[in-house]
């Protein structure tokens, strides 16, 4: 009995040594492949199918699958996206809003990250913790908090009216301004953390040497600190920009009916119009634009990891 058990164990060990490596790579590989990569191929496929089959919420794909072999590529959805200016507007709006928000986030986040990196020992960990903490609390609730502040009957208007600065409430919610506030507010920690990690590693003596040699502080900043923190600036900006392009919750809750963004358009095509092929085509159009920033982000990630090792 015991010898029998031993051989099974031995066999298992031998098998593990031979195939263990493949198993450890294979399981997460398979999972991510099936649930992350394959879905994009299906989106691509469905973006070429015909919208008529997709009218009722759940039946479209039955019909589409049945005729799978007979189906030819239908570019109608993409032509429709090009012909209706609504999509182009939403697309360009998203890129513009995401880019401006990224710049504002960088301008607020950079001095904060710099201040934290230059703070003393225990103070630094407390400040860092204070940056991370909101990131852990619900995203939805942090967006929601601004409804009460920016609303027509919100706190800012109540305060300004009470102070006599304005006589009519300002319209702040349901404007593009509110969308900027929302994006900057919720994505700020994503900007600060990578900036902090590059600024913290930076050798301060370089700046001191430049100052000793007669550089003005802003020159030392422009010539030394800024170039050295470039990896953090890029990583932080991409971490804000890419998800902000596809943002749905913030424009929906804080933006007005005219604040068209591509994520919101996709949501409405899917949930309100139940047009799955058009929603898929919108997703693919968004991905085509985002593929370069995403690959750039991956490149920075890998380079940083290799630098650490």
């Amino acid at each position: 009995m015991s010898s029998d058990k031993l051989t099974i164990k031995q066999r298992f060990d031998r098998w593990m040594i031979k195939h263990g490596r493949v198993l450890v790579i294979g399981i997460p590989y398979f999972w991510l492949f099936l649930f992350f990569l394959v879905p994009f191929l299906i989106v691509l496929k469905i973006s070429f199918s015909v919208a008529e089959y997709a009218q009722p919420p759940y039946t479209p794909l039955f019909e589409w699958i049945d005729e799978g072999i007979a189906i030819t590529l239908n570019f109608g959805n993409y032509l429709f996206l090009l012909s209706d200016s609504l999509y182009a507007t939403a697309y360009l709006n998203s890129i513009r809003i995401a880019a401006i928000s990224t710049i504002i986030t960088l301008l607020i986040g950079y001095p904060m990250a710099y201040g934290i990196a230059r703070a003393q020992g225990s103070m630094r960990s407390v400040l860092l913790m204070l940056v991370i903490l909101p990131f852990w609390t619900s995203f939805l609730i942090r967006v929601y908090a601004w409804i009460g502040i920016l609303d027509r009957e919100g706190l800012i208007n109540a305060f300004l009216l009470w102070a006599g600065i304005i006589s009519e409430p300002l319209i702040m919610r349901q404007t593009e301004f509110a969308v900027y506030v929302g994006i900057v507010y919720t994505y700020l920690p994503f900007m600060i953390l990578p900036l902090y990690s590059t600024l913290e590693k930076m050798d301060v003596s370089l700046v001191e040497a430049a100052l000793d040699l007669g550089c003005k502080p802003w020159q030392a900043f422009a010539k030394i600190t800024l170039p050295l923190s470039m990896p953090g600036i890029l990583a932080g900006s991409l971490l804000v920009f890419i998800p902000a392009v596809g943002e749905f919750v913030i424009p929906e809750l804080l933006g007005g009916p005219n604040t068209l963004m591509i994520g919101r358009t996709l949501w409405n095509e899917f949930f309100a119009n139940r047009d799955w092929p058009i929603a898929s085509a919108v997703a693919i159009a968004m991905l085509i634009f985002l593929v370069v920033p995403i690959m750039w982000f991956q490149h920075i990630q890998t380079k940083q990891e290799e630098g650490q090792q």
């Binding site: 201040g115 204070l130 998800p243 949501w267 899917f270 898929s280 997703a283």
Partner: protein, 277 residues
């Protein structure tokens, strides 16, 4: 000159942290407001907490979210830990670039795209092999596991990259099997990262609205979905009360976790200092 600079940095920090925390504090304060209006303080009251706990729909949704959160955080840990290990310790192998791409991309992928693509996958799979039969808690769990695993992999990978490999190498030289090295040496050393990864996954899952909305089925409404549908109509004091409870729970969880991580790190550094004497 330098004092001018530090004044600027300090005011940037004060302004920045005020920006981060004032909205959260206002939500907490107004959750105790007697009246229904946000701008008018009508006296202290806990009635919105009472009404929150008697809202059955909200309680059911909270249970759904907690169940999904625990399941997907645990699965994400089981998948993300080997993925992080592979990225930092396995060197080059065929398909490594694709693998690292599939770990980095979910971190930034817009949620509407992830949600739509997973839904279409589930629908297609159901047509082809009959699984998953309908959508509900299990499809949300799979969706959350996928993007949480990427976060866990990144956390584990960065922990492993910053770690000394000499103990692992010594064990290998002494003939320990790879699996034994992992469970006896590597795992205890990355335990803080695993804890952080689990907690991160749990909160990300608890927080997700967009992906869950795409892959949910009837009867699997999660807490964010419930919150979203009531928040769409404007501010509600009940949501303020819920937000306060969530913020409280998260803060307590984070503080306990960081104390635990800090203590384990202190013990380790003390142990290594003792070993050097």
């Amino acid at each position: 000159m330098s004092s001018k600079r530090s004044t600027f940095l300090i005011s940037a920090l004060v302004f920045g942290f005020a920006f981060l925390y004032v909205p959260i504090l206002l939500v907490i304060i107004y959750s105790f407001n007697e009246g229904k209006l946000v701008t008018v303080w009508a006296g202290f009251s806990t009635k919105w907490y009472v009404s929150l706990f008697s809202n059955d729909g909200m309680i059911d949704a909270a249970w759904n979210s907690l169940r999904i959160g625990v399941m997907s955080a645990t699965l994400a840990l089981a998948l993300g830990t080997p993925a992080g290990l592979v990225m930092s310790r396995f060197g080059r192998f065929k398909g490594r670039t694709l693998f690292s791409g599939m770990i980095a991309a979910p971190l930034v992928m817009p949620e509407v795209i992830t949600g739509l693509s997973l839904l279409l996958l589930f629908v297609t799979l159901e047509q082809m092999i009959g699984w998953p039969a309908g959508r509900g808690l299990s499809t949300i769990t799979i969706a959350h596991t996928t993007f949480c695993a990427a976060y866990v992999a990144v956390v584990v990978q960065s922990r492993l990259s910053g770690m000394d490999t000499s103990v692992e190498e010594a064990a290998m030289d002494l003939g320990a099997k790879p699996a034994k090295i992992f469970f006896v040496i590597t795992l205890p050393m990355i335990l803080p990262a695993l804890l952080a990864g689990w907690l991160l996954s749990f909160t990300l899952s608890l927080d997700d609205l967009v992906i869950a909305s795409f892959v949910a089925g009837p009867g699997s409404t999660t807490l964010p979905m419930k919150v979203f549908s009531s928040v769409r109509l404007g501010v509600s004091p009940e949501i303020n009360a819920l937000a306060t409870l969530i913020i409280l729970a998260v803060s307590v969880m984070i503080i306990i976790a960081s104390l635990m991580i800090l203590r384990s790190e202190r013990m380790r550094s003390r142990a290594s200092a003792d070993a050097q004497h």
